[in-house]
Amino acid sequence: MRVVIAEDDALLREGLALLLRSEGFDVVAAVDNADDFLALLDDTDAAVLDVRMPPTFTTEGLKAAETARRRRPGFPVLVLSAYVEDRYAGQLLAEGAAGLGYLLKERVGKVAEFVDALRRVADGGTVMDPVVISQLLSRRRADDPIRSLTPREHEVLALMAEGLDNTTIAARLVVTETAVSKHIGNIFAKLGLSTSDSGSRRVLAVLAYLRT
C-alpha cells in the first residue's frame, strides 16, 4: 500500500517513515507541508497527516485532508495531532466518515494498534481517538439516554465509536462476540439508532448521535 506522510518535525517524519516501511507499507514520500502532500495525491493510496504544519502552524493538516477528500472522495486519511478536539473531529467527519482516522500523535507508540488503525482507514473504515470519544461522552446532558447505559454498554459504545469492529471489541473487553452483539443491540435500542448499519456507517451513526 502506497502511503504519503506529511509531518513538519524532521525526526518524527523520518521515524514514521521508518516505522511504516518496517511494517510493510510503501512510503512514497515523507513531506513537511500540506502542499507537497496534495501534489502527490494521485500517486498514493493513503496519507498520514500532521494537523499543525507550516506556514501558520494551526490546522493545515485538517484543511489538506478536506481538500484531498474533496478531490478524491473517500481518500483514506489518518490525521495525527498533539492534542485532539471533538470539533476538529466533527469538521473532518462532516463530509463522510469512511476512510478517516483521527488520532493523538503518541498512539504511534503502540505500533501494532497504530498500523492496524492505518490499515482500517485505508480499507474505508473509521478510527477515532479514545480521547475524542471520551470528550463527546463527557458532554452529555443529564436527561440523556446514554445515562441509562450500563457501564459495560458504555465501554462498548466508546470502542464502537473509535471505529473498532465486534471482534476487536470482544478481544479488548475479553468477552465473546455474541456478548458484544447483544450489548450493541441494547445500546442501539436505548439510543434509538438503526441496528442495520455496519462498519463506518455504524461509527458515523454513533458519532452523529454523540455530537448532537
Binding site: 525526526l11 518524527l12 521515524g15 521508518l18 500523535k105 504511534v108
Partner: protein, 415 residues
Amino acid sequence: MSRDRLLRWWRALRYLIVELGAGFASLGFIIIGLAMTPLLIFSGGWLIAPLIVRPLRWWAGLARERNSRHRGGSIQSAYIPLPTSPSMESSLRVTFSRSTGRDLLWLLGHGLITPVVTLLTIAVPLSVVNSLLVPAYWYLAPAGDPISSPYPVTSWAAAAWMPLVALGYALIAWWLVPGIAFGLRWVQVAALTPGKKARLSERVTALTASRAAALDAHSAELRRIERDLHDGAQNRLVSVVMMLGMAERSLENHTDGALPQLRRAQEAATDALAGLRTMVHDIYPPCLDELGLEGSLSAVAGSSGVPCTLEVSGLHRMPAAVESAAYFVVAEAVTNVNKYSAATRVNVSVTCDSSDPEDMLHIVIEDDGRGGAVERPGGGIAGIRRRVEAFEGTVQLTSPVGGPTVMRVELPCGW
C-alpha cells in the same frame, strides 16, 4: 554680593536667552502649523494628525526638560500613547485630548509672548554694556549726530553721565532678569503641567491602553511558549514513544532492530529534556530572582568567552516577563557572538530612560566580529525577534560582511 547670587543671576540670564531662541522656534512651529491646518482639515487629516501631535509633544517635552533643569524639580506629563495604527477614532482622541489642547495653548503663548518678553529683558543688561560704551561711540561718531540712549548724547558732559546710567540699568537688570526668569518659568510650568483632572483622566486612558497592550503581550507570550513546547518537547517525546514502540515490535518479532531503536529513543528523550531545560530557563531564568536583571546580565557578560563589557544605566523594576525577555535577548545575542562572530570584544549596553514617556528599555549589542549575520527562520535572531515582538518591541540588526555587527533592541518596559 556673593558669588552664589551672581551665578544665579547668570543662570537666569542664560535661561532667558535659551527661552528666547526656543520662543522663536515655537513661533516657527505655529507658522508651520497654521500653514498646514487647511491641509489637515481637507485631506483626511486624521491620518497625519499623529504626525503633528508627535512633534508637538516632543517640543513640549523639551520645554518641560528645560524648565525642570532650570531650578530643579520635574514636570510631569500625562499623554495618551500615540496609536500605532492610525484609526480615525484613536487619532481624533489623541488630537482632541486635553494634553494636546494644553500643549497648543502653551505653544501659542510661548511662540508669541516669550520672544517679546525675553528680548526686552535681555536688552537691559545689554544696555548696561551699551551705556558704558556710549562715550566711545560719541568719540567715534561724526560730530553733531546725537547718540540715542535714555537721553541724546551730544556732548562730552552728557557722555560723562553715562556710567551712572549704566549703573541704573545694572540695578534694574539685577532685579529684572531673575524676576522675569522666575515668572516665565512659573507660567510655563503652570501651562505645561497637566491639570489634576486632566492628569487623572489621561492616566486612566493611558492605563487602559497599556493594560490592553499588556494583555496582548501576555497572550502573545503564552502562544510563543505553547509553540515552543509543541515543537520541542512534545514532538520529541512522541518520537521517544514511537521509537520505543518500534523497539518493542522488534523484540516481539525477534528481529535485531531493537537496540539501535532504543538508543535513538534515548537520544530523543535526552533531546526533549535539554529542550525542556532551555525552555524552562528561558521562561524565567532563576538567576533573575537571585541577582536581578543587572546582576544576571553581569553573569552573562562574565561567562562570555569573547571579552564582554556591560554598561547598565537607569534600570528600575520591570515586569518579570520583560526582565526575562531582556535577559534572553542579551544571553542569546552574546551566545551568537561567541559561536559565530570571531569577535575580539563585545559590548552590551542596557539603558532605560525613565523620563521617556514611552518607557523603553534599550539594548545594544555590538561586536567587532566578521559580520554577515542573517536572520534564519528558527535561528537565534528569529528567536530574539519573536520574543521581543511579543511585547511590541523592535529588533534592528546591522551586520555588513566584515563587521561590525550591531543589534539594537527596544522593549517597552512600563506596562
